[in-house]
């Protein structure tokens, strides 16, 4: 069976790096993997989605069909809501409690609802709300939020057997290795 993971966020949040480590881990564990990313424009502020599909057999499409994602991991509240079309009924959501207003909100054309988290919880029973940005700050660097979310994702998908420590060591700058190893563990522990 092909498993489907969708990561979403806003440009600059590190979704792409998290998705990259995830796919390397899956590849090294012997899965067939496809990942699709739409990152058209270089400006910050647009939404970013990475889709990862993996299986012990051949994976065909690199894109996830609506209603089939096993898990949606969102780095931002609104982006979790936006991606619920992709979640399969009964699927899991991990949402970071960060709220990034878009230009339409800043100019007053639209309202960023206060109860986005409640809406997600209403729609999805298996919702994990995490203050990954706050947790990362406590570890000493907000940027580690993406690896905290990766840790949670790996735990929830039962992918703990893979040598994530080795992958983190190989893929982050040396001075950030310890921080990221801690972040990964914090994320995994948060969804135990």
């Amino acid at each position: 069976m092909t498993k489907n993971i969708l990561l979403s966020g806003v440009g600059g949040q590190g979704t792409i790096t998290a998705a990259k480590m995830l796919t390397i881990g899956l590849m090294e564990a012997g899965y067939d993997v496809k990942m699709s990313e739409i990152h058209g424009m270089s400006q910050r502020g647009g939404d970013v989605v990475s889709q990862v599909r993996y299986s012990k057999e051949k994976v065909y499409s690199p894109v996830i069909d609506k209603g089939t994602a096993d898990i949606v991991v969102s780095f931002e509240e609104m982006e979790a809501l936006r991606c619920l079309d992709y979640l399969q009924p009964g699927g899991t959501v991990v949402v970071n409690t960060e709220r990034i207003p878009s230009m339409t909100v800043l100019t007053g054309a639209e309202e960023y609802a206060e109860d986005v988290i409640e809406e997600i919880q209403k729609a999805v029973e298996k919702t994990h709300v995490m203050d990954a940005s706050g947790m990362a700050k406590e570890l000493g660097n907000v940027k580690a939020a993406n690896v905290i979310l990766l840790g949670a994702l790996v735990k929830l998908m039962g992918l703990d057997d893979i040598d994530w420590e080795g992958i983190i060591r190989k893929n982050v700058k040396e001075k950030f290795v310890d921080l990221n190893l801690k972040a990964f563990q914090v994320g995994a522990d948060a969804v135990k």
Binding site: V10, T23, I24, M27, D32, V33, K34, M35, S36, E37, I38, H39, G40, M41, S42, Q43, R44, G45, G46, D47, V59, Y60, S61, P62, V63, D65, K66, G67, T68, M78, E79, L81, R82, L84, D85, L87, Q88, P89, G91, P101, S102, M103, T104, V105, L106, T107, A109, E110, E111, Y112, A113, V116, E119, I120, K122, A123, V124, V142
Partner: protein
């Protein structure tokens, strides 16, 4: 060994393995990373050309000289390159030559959707359509064999999903291909009508041979299921179809699609009850199949535009998507791309948008976003370089009709070098009085920060000759030129004021680096303290008028609780545009 590569990375790897030694390209999503990755290989000379026509010609010349060469570009880039491409395609190439076109079904970051497979048909060029990264690599290697065997320029048709998706690739080693001898051969390389006529006839012979190749090409293959449903598909549509039609269906996967394999298609069709043709954009394969007299379903069922993802196929076939979670869709906000905090385009458009009796013709780049709120400072955009020439046309009409309206044209540095410079020649030659703004942010921003003829570096990061824009503009004959700092709003206003009533053309160059650029030593020297500071709002002075937010900076956030604006420290780079707008001088530098 297997590696996880994007299609673009695999194209680059394939070119390297095939012994390519010359690569030329102009950036454009989703093709940009092809040249960026090729540039990492020492064995390949790689360059950013100022535009796609030049890239195609550079690759054509390299091929004539005997090297294996590649040109890569986005779909609309092929329009620019079409002139050399269409005639080079009629010649018998010397070194193998491949043109990669990256099409954009769904238009994720493009101004139109066009199916460049039609170019292959029109130019009678052999064409491949890879479905994943492995095929990108394998087809590149095969493309050079085909190019040299049949003497033809080969078109490699990519789509966004293939360019930007990663999948596992078994990589190989590089095969060194020596430069072939060049011999003076006028009939072959000089396309005067007498020679062109011979080439034209020869192409028919070539097409016949290629049609035979197509029947036996390993990239055109059938997989048989229970014989009821047969799917003919090319590119990633093959994989999408497999998700929806499953293992019982039969598939004819076409990877070499010009010329199409007639016999293979007929044989496949004879073994299936119902035929579906799944392809992105135009009914390119479908029309061929219908001409063969084969009954089939194609664009009567599936959309003629956008991607053929499983979701789209399912909806078209069964009228519904898979069951989904229900949620409060109405609460989802839009998230359009915006100028970055500190973007040097902000100051210019913030002020330009306030001018009256003006038409602003724009171009393609980050600055195209100026059409949106809160600026609404861009009235038209078609294609790269068009701002200056469209503006010229419009200004002529207004002047002749006695309508008092100033035309301001705006384009970026890369776009100016691309084709804007030709347009400016027209403006000078035919004496318009447009104001032409060149937004020189020292880089090609929108496509992810590529060097260009004005930045002083090559794609390999080596120092290069730097074309001085001001000298160039003056050399063309523009007498009124100002180079300004766009973050200084007073300078912006004064420049427009000075040129507004002229009867002659003028140019304003706004010079300040893009925030996301990796600054060169020259940048750091020329712009001291570049983005080194942070601003804060003095809450005591802020009256919550939100005027600063009219600059559209995403770092300025209105705090509903305190009714005052706060600056998101992580985003702010201290450009000071908001500081100049605040009526209460409430925005100040953060104390160190």
């Amino acid at each position: 060994m297997k590696r996880l590569l994007t299609g673009d990375e695999a194209i680059a790897r394939g070119a390297w393995e095939a012994g390519v030694t010359h690569a030329s390209a102009y950036p454009g999503t989703p093709s940009t990373e092809i040249l960026e990755n090729i540039a990492k290989y020492e064995e390949i000379y790689a360059e950013w050309a100022p535009n796609e026509k030049v890239a195609m010609e550079s690759a054509a010349g390299a091929s004539m000289a005997g090297a294996r060469s590649i040109a890569s570009m986005k779909h609309v880039g092929v329009n620019v390159a079409a002139d050399p491409m269409m005639t080079f395609a009629t010649m018998r190439v010397n070194g193998g030559a491949v043109l990669v076109t990256a099409d954009e079904p769904g238009m994720f970051s493009s101004q139109n959707e066009q199916d460049n497979r039609n170019f292959a048909k029109m130019g009678k060029m052999p064409m491949f359509e890879p479905a994943d990264s492995q095929e990108c690599l394998d087809m590149m290697k095969e493309a050079y064999e085909v190019s040299e065997e049949y003497g033809a320029l080969v078109l490699m048709r990519m789509v966004t999903r293939v360019c930007h998706s990663k999948s596992l690739v078994e990589v190989g080693e590089r095969k060194e291909v020596p430069v072939k001898p060049w011999e003076k051969d006028l009939a072959r390389f000089v396309c005067v009508p007498a020679n062109a006529r011979v080439n034209r006839v020869n192409m028919e012979e070539r097409t016949k041979k290629l049609a035979e190749y197509s029947e036996n090409c390993k990239f055109n293959f059938a997989e048989y299921g229970d014989g009821k449903v047969g799917v003919i598909a090319s590119g990633p549509s093959y994989y999408y179809a497999k998700e929806v039609f499953g293992e019982d269906a039969s598939y004819l996967k076409l990877g070499f699609t010009n010329p199409l394999p007639k016999n293979l298609i007929q044989e496949f069709a004879s073994k299936c009850e119902t035929i579906y043709i799944i392809e992105e954009d135009d009914p390119y394969i479908e029309e061929f199949v219908r001409v063969l007299g084969i009954e089939c379903h194609g664009k009567d069922v599936f959309p003629s535009y956008g991607e053929m993802t499983p979701n789209v196929l399912r909806k078209a076939l069964y009228g519904e998507e898979l069951p989904q979670v229900e949620y409060a869709k109405e609460k989802v906000i839009k998230r359009p791309p915006t100028f970055c905090a500190g973007c040097p385009h902000r100051g210019l458009f913030y002020r330009l948008g306030k001018r009256k009796d003006v038409m602003i013709t724009g171009d393609i780049g980050c600055y195209t976003l100026a059409f949106a709120q809160p600026y609404a400072a861009l009235d038209a955009a078609i294609c790269m370089g068009a701002s200056i020439s469209m503006g010229h046309g419009a200004q002529k009409v207004y002047n002749k009709a006695g309508i008092k309206r100033k035309v301001v044209t705006v384009l970026g540095d890369s776009t100016f070098f691309h084709t804007g410079v030709n347009s400016l020649m027209n403006t000078v030659y035919n004496n318009s009085n447009t104001i032409n703004v060149i937004l020189d942010n020292r880089i090609t921003g929108m496509t992810g920060h590529q060097q260009n003829p004005g930045t002083g570096y090559t794609v390999k990061g080596e120092e290069a000759n730097m074309i001085d824009m001001e000298t160039l503009v003056r050399a063309i004959g523009i007498k009124h030129v100002k180079v300004i700092d766009p973050n200084n709003l007073k300078e912006v206003d004064e420049a427009f004021d000075a040129f507004w009533d002229l009867d002659e053309p003028s140019v304003i160059i706004t010079r300040y680096p893009c925030v996301l650029k990796k600054f060169s030593p020259a940048d750091l020297e020329q712009f001291p303290g570049l983005f080194q500071t942070k601003n804060v709002v003095d809450a005591e002075k802020c009256i919550g008028c939100k005027l600063c937010q009219k600059t559209g900076c995403p770092a300025l956030i209105f705090d509903k609780a305190t009714k005052k604006v706060v600056i998101n420290r992580a985003d702010c780079v201290g450009c000071d545009v908001c500081t100049q707008v605040c009526p209460k001088n409430a925005i100040v530098k953060e104390e160190k």
